[in-house]
């Protein structure tokens, strides 16, 4: 383990953590303003820093300040330890799963200016993969950590000593456990096609062949549905259900503890967008862009090739990943503000009777087709 490795990992970690939390805060703004635009409203634009309103962006700072100075309320008969622990448990899986997201190819600080003929995932003295942790069990790690998300919700509801939060946490438990199954199964098709569990290798397969959404269209739809259910947002927001159980499992939270739940939920959208991009939209892959430059093969003009320096390729691919993630966040937000909440029986019916059998069928068909093609 060289010094460069330690420094690079630490830098990636800090960069990514800061990025996620900023992204979560920005998402509050996106959510509020976007919903306003969709519903023909203006949204929050009042907060200002002197003469600057910045389309309501100042509200993020105002909200943050408000959360800090609010009373941290703990119900008298609540379990104080668990009540304090729950927000941390809720935000933990979101922050941890980010670690395995490959947000870019390998970058070599020794040869930034030259053309890279070695391929996107080479190893060199000054090279580092743009991914915090390379884990062999990548996908399993993601699913395992995502599975712990339910713990925070259940503990929050149970420790609050409030009937509404208890109801919310019960709903959260049943919903998350139901959709956990599909979440995993809808990705089995991807694993079969890509032939690996490592996320960086999945991206590499898509880089060399074609995007996952082309080979697994049904898997994409199923994963998207299950993922939105996992993030507990409309149309699957029964654990929160404002109209029936106030705010569900986090009724009794205020101040920064509430912000942890709220930001956790929003950052989960970011995580899901990252994973959707990695599994189905080629991660950092840009069409026709290889590690050494642009390869175009058009039927009329024949093969064309423009060499590009290493730094510009990596920058383009990083930008592409960011763009894909933004687009997928936008997609999830649009779904959230389009569909009404499901009824509880509809939720369970969709989960167990529609999505689960379909994902099983998807796995079976994928396996048969792959075997036939071999």
């Amino acid at each position: 383990m060289t010094t460069f490795f330690v420094v690079a990992t630490a830098a990636k970690l800090v960069l990514f953590l800061v990025g996620i939390i900023t992204c979560g805060a920005l998402m509050v703004w996106v959510e509020r303003r976007m919903s306003a635009m969709i519903q023909d409203r203006i949204g929050p634009v009042r907060a200002n820093a002197g003469p600057f309103r910045l389309w309501g962006l100042v509200h993020i700072a105002a909200d943050g300040l408000k959360m800090m100075i609010k009373e941290d309320f703990i119900p008298r008969r609540a379990d104080k330890l668990l009540h304090a622990l729950a927000p941390m448990l809720a935000i933990f899986p979101v922050l941890v799963t980010f670690a395995v997201v490959p947000f870019g190819p390998t970058i070599d600080f020794g040869h930034l200016g030259s053309v890279n003929h070695l391929g996107p995932l080479f190893e060199g003295r000054w090279a580092t993969t743009l991914q915090v942790a390379q884990v062999d069990v990548g996908l399993l790690f993601v699913l395992a950590i995502a599975g712990t998300g339910v713990v925070g919700a259940v503990i929050a509801g149970a420790a609050s000593d409030n009937r509404y939060s208890l109801l919310g946490s019960l709903r959260a438990a049943s919903q998350l456990v139901s959709y956990e199954v599909t979440l995993g199964l809808s990705l089995v098709g991807c694993v079969l096609v890509f032939g690996t569990l490592r996320l960086e290798d999945m991206v590499l397969w898509q880089h060399h062949h074609t995007w996952g959404v082309v080979v697994q269209p049904l898997g994409f739809v199923l994963f998207l549905a299950a993922a939105i259910a996992e993030s507990k947002r409309t149309p699957f927001d029964l654990p929160e259900g404002e109209s029936e159980i106030v705010a569900g499992y986090f009724v009794e939270y205020s101040g920064m503890k509430f912000a942890a739940f709220y930001l956790g939920e929003l950052m989960e959208i970011g995580v899901l967008a990252c994973f959707l991009a990695v599994f189905f939209f080629g991660g950092w892959d840009v069409p026709f862009l290889r590690a050494d430059g642009i390869h175009l093969s058009l039927p009329m003009l024949g093969a064309k090739f423009w060499a590009m320096p290493h730094w510009s390729v990596v920058l383009l691919q990083l930008g592409a990943f960011g763009l894909k993630v933004c687009g997928l966040i936008f997609l999830q937000m649009a779904i959230r503000w389009t569909l009404p909440r499901m009824r509880y029986d509809q939720l369970m019916e969709l989960g167990w009777k529609a999505i689960l059998p379909l994902s099983l069928a998807n796995v079976a068909v994928t396996a048969v087709v792959l075997h036939a093609l071999r």
Binding site: M34, A36, M37, I38, Q39, D40, R41, I42, V45, V221, A334, I335, W337, T338, L339, L350
Partner: protein, 176 residues
């Protein structure tokens, strides 16, 4: 016979959720993009900065109209005070001394109080006035104040309030 709940019939196309979701998102995104780029359909008025003009017949705060020479048109006949259902007008009459150019109108309001907090803005005082001396065409509404006495409007203040166009005279001057 038991009551049969009618279930809406959906074909397989609708039941697959996806095309209908896409259709719904079409509506959502149409609104979104129309509001973000180009024409705005938002009807919100950012109130203190942007104010919608009140309609011309809006009954706002009262004003007392003036004659050309600046004296109040009011002759302290007490019609408005009598007509007021909220009993918010209080007039103390005074009389012009003999030889005064306005001695022919005999009376004037030495004091004229309107309690804008009691006023129900019914407009009966305006209807009752035979001299067009009290009007509610100022286009103003009662402002927030820090103490109740601040909304007890007295004669000179009422005389100084203008109509929506900034005029202190009456709109229909009377011939002598």
């Amino acid at each position: 016979m038991p009551y049969v709940v009618k279930r809406p019939e959906r074909d397989i196309w609708e039941q697959s959720y996806i095309p209908e979701t896409v259709r719904g998102m079409g509506v959502t995104l149409r609104h979104f993009f129309r509001n973000v780029i180009g024409r705005r359909d938002t009807v919100t008025i950012l109130y203190p900065e942007v104010q919608r003009p009140y309609p011309p017949r809006f009954r706002g705060l009262h004003r007392l109209t003036q004659r050309d020479d600046g004296s109040p048109r009011c002759t302290a006949c007490m019609c408005c005070q009598t007509a007021c259902p909220a009993e918010c007008i209080h007039i103390v009459a005074g009389s012009y001394p003999d030889g005064h150019p306005l001695a022919f109108v005999e009376k004037y309001p030495a004091e004229f109080w309107i309690d804008e907090l009691r006023c129900v803005f019914c407009g009966l005082c305006v209807e009752a006035c035979p001299c067009d001396a009290i009007r509610m065409d100022t286009g103003l509404h009662a402002r927030p104040v820090e103490a109740r006495p601040h909304l007890m409007y007295e004669r000179n203040l009422l005389l100084s309030i203008t109509d929506a166009k900034g005029d202190v005279l009456t709109a229909n001057p009377r011939k002598k």
